[in-house]
């Protein structure tokens, strides 16, 4: 069965392969090329593979010897292949490490997050400050009882104090007579609701949408307010000043000056308004020339920012608290205004147009 020619062919074949493979493999410049060349020797149709298929035809006495030689060669090829592959990888890495950089100006590839509305951002900032001082957050309905929005807050009946808050009433068109339900004009309604629900001590801030019948360059018929109040025994005006000064300095700048002016809101007494150093001309830095030019504070260096006061005893009486035992303070601010101040938003209408070009700035 043995074919003497087979031995010859086999030996010649091995010798041929042995003489060529190393150079061929080392000449490959890329991994696919290397694998292709490698396949020519050891692939299913490779030269060495073909030789190995001749094994059964070899005479018994030489089969073992030649078989060992073929296997040794196969291992050598493998070793050379591994070495060549490693070298290709290394030079590729080398080329990457020393070659031209990637075009880093191409767009990033990820699902980008969206943005919070500037009013929400400001609301969160304000809330965070008060929460860190121990205040809770509460809210209430936007459609409210007249009682909660005015009467219980101490607005006298038929009093011009309600004129300051031109009110939307709920009802069939034109039915102004039934004025018992309205769109809340102020978040102070939540004061009433929370006090009717809970007993002191109370420390609450309540942000939310409010509505007034004003629609012009500087007014939006819906806007956002934040109301805060603290009720306990022995709460003082001095503490009101302390809390609001701290709040404004944390929100805007620790250097701003804060001043309290007397003012009037039916549900507080004494009542006040709070001015702070103009944040546009950074009035606290004392650059008079810059402040004089400032259109925002009209050269005064001050801007109005909050309303506040000690909760009027009539409010306590209306919610069933002992007005002699408890005192408290309350304050309110326009979140729209704070957002406009903080982000330099020139026009309140921008806040409600939902222009993506605007929203994407925050």
């Amino acid at each position: 069965m043995a074919e003497p020619d087979a031995v010859q062919t086999f030996e010649n074949g091995l010798a041929e392969i042995r003489g060529a493979y190393a150079e061929a493999l080392r000449a490959a410049r890329s991994e696919p090329e290397l694998r292709l060349i490698n396949g020519r020797y050891v692939g299913p149709q490779g030269e060495l593979t073909k030789l190995l298929k001749l094994m059964p035809k070899l005479p018994g006495e030489q089969r073992r010897e030649l078989g060992q030689a073929a296997n040794a060669l196969k291992q050598e090829i493998q070793a050379t292949f591994d070495e060549a592959l490693q070298s290709i990888h290394r030079s590729a890495r080398e080329a990457e490490l020393t070659g031209p950089p990637l075009d880093v100006t191409l767009p990033g590839r990820w699902q980008m997050p969206g943005r919070l509305h500037p009013i929400t951002r400001v609301r969160n900032e304000v809330i965070d400050i008060f929460v860190s001082l121990g205040f809770d957050i509460a809210d209430g309905p936007e459609v409210e009882l007249y009682e909660n929005c005015f009467d219980k807050l101490g607005f006298p009946p038929d009093h011009p104090a309600t004129d300051e808050q031109d009110t939307f009433f709920i009802g069939a068109a034109g039915s102004i007579d039934a004025q018992s339900v309205l769109l809340r004009t102020q978040t102070s309604t939540i004061q009433i609701r929370e006090m009717m629900k809970r007993e002191p001590p109370l420390a609450i801030v309540s942000p939310g949408a409010v509505y007034r019948r004003d629609d012009d360059a500087t007014h939006s018929p819906m806007f956002f307010q934040l109301e805060g109040f603290l009720v306990d025994e022995d709460v003082t005006f001095a503490e009101l000043k302390g809390v609001l000064t701290l709040f404004l300095r944390r929100l805007f700048d620790e250097h701003i000056a804060v001043r309290f002016r007397a003012s009037y809101f039916p549900f507080v007494e004494p009542g006040g308004e709070v001015d702070m150093s103009c944040v546009f001309c950074r009035a606290w830095e004392g650059d008079r020339a810059r402040t004089t030019q400032c259109r925002v504070c009209k050269g005064t260096g001050w801007m109005e920012i909050l309303g506040c006061g000690m909760i009027h005893p009539v409010v306590f009486e209306n919610v069933g608290y002992d007005a002699e035992k408890y005192t408290g303070f309350a304050f309110g601010m326009g979140l729209d205004r704070i957002a406009m101040l903080k982000y330099g938003i020139p026009n309140i209408k921008l806040l409600y147009e939902n222009d993506v070009r605007f929203l994407s700035q925050f």
Binding site: H117, A172, A173, N354, V356
Partner: protein, 826 residues
């Protein structure tokens, strides 16, 4: 409220400059919002004497005037018809002067003549409103040619614009503000007497016998010449509704001549925003601005005497007011009537038929105190807000009636050249009772957080006009003055003390806050988490108005059972939204119109729904819309479709809940595409929907392209999150998983999801996940079919899986697919 600083200086001995005064009163509650200096912007405008005048040839309306401006004789062309004769004086703007409106005066040729300057009207100099002719200087005014107009006419003043709060009616006149300044700057204030008329008469006989009267003469600062009592019908006052008219006074001035007011008066009214008309009417306005107390002047001859009756209107009663409008009244309106009927709407506006005319000779001056609430209701009902109603509805000083009458009678007599009656009717139906208020310095200290010495409190309150009626060791009782209706209880006095001392005197302190057990409600915190999740998932937050039009709702096919506004600003914003859809999709469309290619918006806000209760139900909703193209990486944009909507819902809910929602086919809102939408469930609970907008609705709303819209019920999600509690950690698998694929050809009617569920189910707990990784339609796939390929990950939690076991289970999956879903396994 506009206030003249000059006038304040006349009323109160204040030395401080206007800036200091403005600052002090602003801090104390009278906020000065603006200040305008008068008489400053008229440099180059001087008194000039007319030396000659002649009509310009062929230009009959123009006059060539030679004036002497103190330095030169100049020729100037003037278009006014009232150029005075030589010797008369005019206001002359020299070349180079700049008028308040910005016009620069320069020599120029007018109709062939050289004109060197300009002869001005009061309107051109903004010192009045008369634009009909030039201003001719009164012969009594001493001013040489060349004198600056500001000096000659004494134009210097500073006008303060004070934003008065509605609790301070006492400051609606200069006297009240002067009193405030006196207190705040520590210079004191004493109410001055009126100058007094040159001529007066005893009223006896002018009033019906027994009529309650008050003497005016002692309130005058002069001895007037007594003249004969004129023959007038004996009038009397009857108050039929004492609650609404606690006090009614009436004074008489006889023999006036109606004429224009002198310049100083017209100028003052002009600066304070009122229009000068004639001496008597101007006088009533000046008194209003001085005392803050509205008065009304009737033409006595036109009053059908003798009775002046203050009564409520009968329903439907009519009268023409002096603005020539016929008004109809209700029984809630208070009227001033004569024998023939109404002559004035009490405290709001006088009647047309009894107003002062050019022929008026005898004047009846009304000064009353009306119930504020009544005046306010009438004023609002009539839509008639006047300087008078503005003050009465805030509460004028009932105690000031005699002084105001004395001032008014004196001024009208002086300006009109008439004589004033020395007494006036003063009918009181309800005497003024001061509020007696107990003040405890200890309470003030407790409230303010700083000690308040009793002596200082006393001094401040007395300087404000309070009368201390009782004094103890730790408290005193003070009567509030009649001009301060806002002082009703102890805190009001504490505020007075605090603000007069200055809020800056109160120290700052940090309170001890008792944190509550419950803290902020879980719902509010949950809402914030959702909002953050929406942003993290790529959405931009929109904020829309809560109201819109019923048409917006109808077009969007959402509920039109909406909460209506009784007094909307416009039809476009006349009902509360029942859905966030119209607002949010409109915002998306607007963004697309402005060029945005990819719009990803959300809104987390309330919708409003009528109920049987007084208040509507307010639902908190998270709405999402996607419109336009989802951006690929450098090209590769694709229109948003349902799967983007599904993806974003998944992203939001997974972030908050740590688990995936499920989409199921089911009944969809009618604004969604019936075949391209799904209901969203989470932990088997329905929580919302997502889908493509119905194309018809899209057309009605003007949407661009296929718009995706989704809604999640925030309160429902919150309840679910409470129920599910925090995510519980699971053990990590101990044994390796084995993955096998299964591909099948299946009819479209079977959803990938239900096949995957069924495969998982039949695996007897071994299939940890079944994931669709390939979906193919096209060549070689019959119509109505698709090729689905799932990767099944097998894992036995209790041991290593053998190939044999996996093969067996995998085969059962294939069998199930072909049996239940008629699938051809590929």
């Amino acid at each position: 409220m506009l206030v003249s600083f000059r006038w304040l200086q006349e009323l109160c001995p204040v030395d401080a400059g206007v800036d200091e005064v403005a600052h002090r009163i602003s801090l104390a509650g009278l906020e000065v919002e603006a200040m305008e200096e008068k008489g400053k912007n008229l440099t180059g405008v001087v008194i000039a004497e007319v030396r000659a005048k002649s009509p310009l040839p062929k230009k009959d309306k123009l006059t060539l005037v030679t004036v002497f401006d103190g330095e030169n004789e100049l020729e100037v062309v003037c278009g006014a018809a009232n150029v005075p004769e030589p010797g008369g004086r005019v206001l002359f703007a020299r070349s180079g002067a700049v008028l308040p409106n910005g016009m620069e005066i320069a020599p120029r040729k007018v109709a062939g003549a050289e004109s060197n300057g300009m002869i001005c009207s009061e309107a051109e100099l903004e010192i009045g409103i008369d634009a009909d002719g030039i201003f001719v200087v009164d012969p009594d005014t001493e001013a040489l040619p060349g004198t600056s107009v500001a000096d000659a006419l004494d134009l210097y003043d500073v006008i303060l614009d004070i934003g008065l709060t509605p609790n301070r009616p006492d400051c609606l006149g200069h006297v009240g503000i002067a009193r405030e300044i006196g207190v705040l700057l520590g210079v004191g204030f004493t109410s001055r007497k009126a100058a007094g008329p040159r001529r007066s008469f005893a009223a006896a006989g002018s009033f019906q016998a027994g009529e309650p009267t008050t003497k005016l003469a002692p309130l005058w600062d002069n001895d007037s010449e007594a003249v004969d009592t004129p023959k007038l019908p004996a009038i009397f006052v009857e108050i039929a509704d004492g609650d609404r008219c606690p006090r009614y006074g009436a004074a008489l001035v006889s023999g006036v001549k109606i004429a224009p007011s002198p310049f100083w008066l017209r100028y003052r009214l002009h600066n304070l925003g009122l229009r000068a008309l004639s001496n008597v009417v101007d006088a009533t306005n000046l008194i209003l601005l001085e005392w803050g107390h509205p008065i009304h002047a009737f033409d006595l001859e036109r009053l059908a005497g003798p009775k002046v009756l203050v009564r409520r209107a009968t329903q439907g009663e009519k009268m023409a007011t002096l603005d020539e409008v016929e008004r109809t009244f209700t029984e809630d309106d208070l009227l001033i009537c004569d024998a023939d009927g109404p002559v004035a709407v009490a405290g709001v506006m006088g009647g047309r038929d009894t107003e002062i005319r050019d022929e008026t000779s005898d004047v009846l001056i009304e000064c009353a105190y009306f119930d504020p609430r009544s005046i306010r209701r009438t004023s609002r009902r009539l839509g008639l807000h006047t300087d008078s109603s503005h003050r009465f509805e805030r509460g004028v000083d009932p105690g000031a009636v005699p002084r105001v009458l004395a001032s008014a009678a004196s001024l009208i007599a002086e300006l009109g050249g008439g004589a004033a009656a020395t007494t006036a009717i003063d009918r009181i139906s309800i005497p003024f009772e001061p509020n007696s208020i107990r003040f405890r310095p200890a309470r003030a200290a407790q409230l303010l957080g700083t000690p308040v010495p009793q002596e200082e409190s006393l001094r401040i309150l007395e300087s404000l006009g309070c009368q201390v009626v009782e004094q103890g060791d730790d408290a005193f009782i003070a009567d509030a003055p009649s001009w301060r209706p806002d002082l009703g209880r102890e805190v009001d006095l504490i505020e007075e003390v605090a603000r007069v001392r200055g809020y800056e005197e109160i120290p700052t302190a940090v309170p001890r806050v008792h944190p509550s057990e419950a803290g902020t409600s879980g719902l509010l915190k949950f809402v914030d988490r959702l909002r953050e999740a929406a942003v993290a998932s790529g959405l931009y937050e929109a904020v829309n108005y809560g109201f819109l039009s019923i048409d917006d709702l109808r077009k969007a096919r959402v509920s039109i059972d909406a909460v209506p506004l009784a007094n909307p600003l416009s039809e476009e914003r006349s009902v509360m939204r029942t859905s966030l859809l119209p607002g949010l999709t409109a915002a998306a469309t607007r963004a697309q119109r402005r060029g945005a290619t990819e719009v990803r918006l959300f809104e987390l806000a309330r919708t409003f729904h009528p109920t049987d209760d007084t208040l509507p139900r307010e639902d908190t909703v998270l709405a999402i819309t996607l419109a336009g193209q989802r951006a690929g990486w450098i090209g590769g944009e694709q229109s948003f479709d349902l799967y983007d909507g599904k993806g974003v819902i998944q992203a939001v809910l997974e972030r908050v809940f740590g688990q995936k929602p499920k989409l199921t086919v089911g009944e969809l809102p009618s604004f969604l595409h019936p075949k391209r939408g799904a209901r969203v469930t989470l932990a088997s609970r329905p929580v919302g929907f997502v889908g493509e907008m119905h194309p018809d609705v899209g057309d009605d709303l003007g949407l661009i392209g296929r718009v995706i819209y989704a809604e999640l019920d925030v309160e429902g999600l919150y309840a679910l999150s409470e129920e599910l509690g925090p995510t519980q950690a699971r053990d990590l698998p101990k044994y390796p998983a084995v993955a096998r694929d299964i591909a099948m050809l299946v009819r479209d009617q079977f959803s990938a999801g239900e096949i995957a569920d069924a495969l998982r189910e039949v695996s007897k707990g071994l299939a940890e996940s079944v994931r669709l990784f390939d979906l193919y339609r096209g060549d070689q796939i019959p119509d109505g079919h698709r090729s689905l390929a799932f990767r099944v990950t097998y894992r036995d939690p209790d041991g290593t899986l053998t190939d044999k076991r996996v093969d067996k289970v995998h085969a059962s999956l294939a069998k199930l697919a072909s049996d239940r879903f008629e699938a051809t396994i590929r």
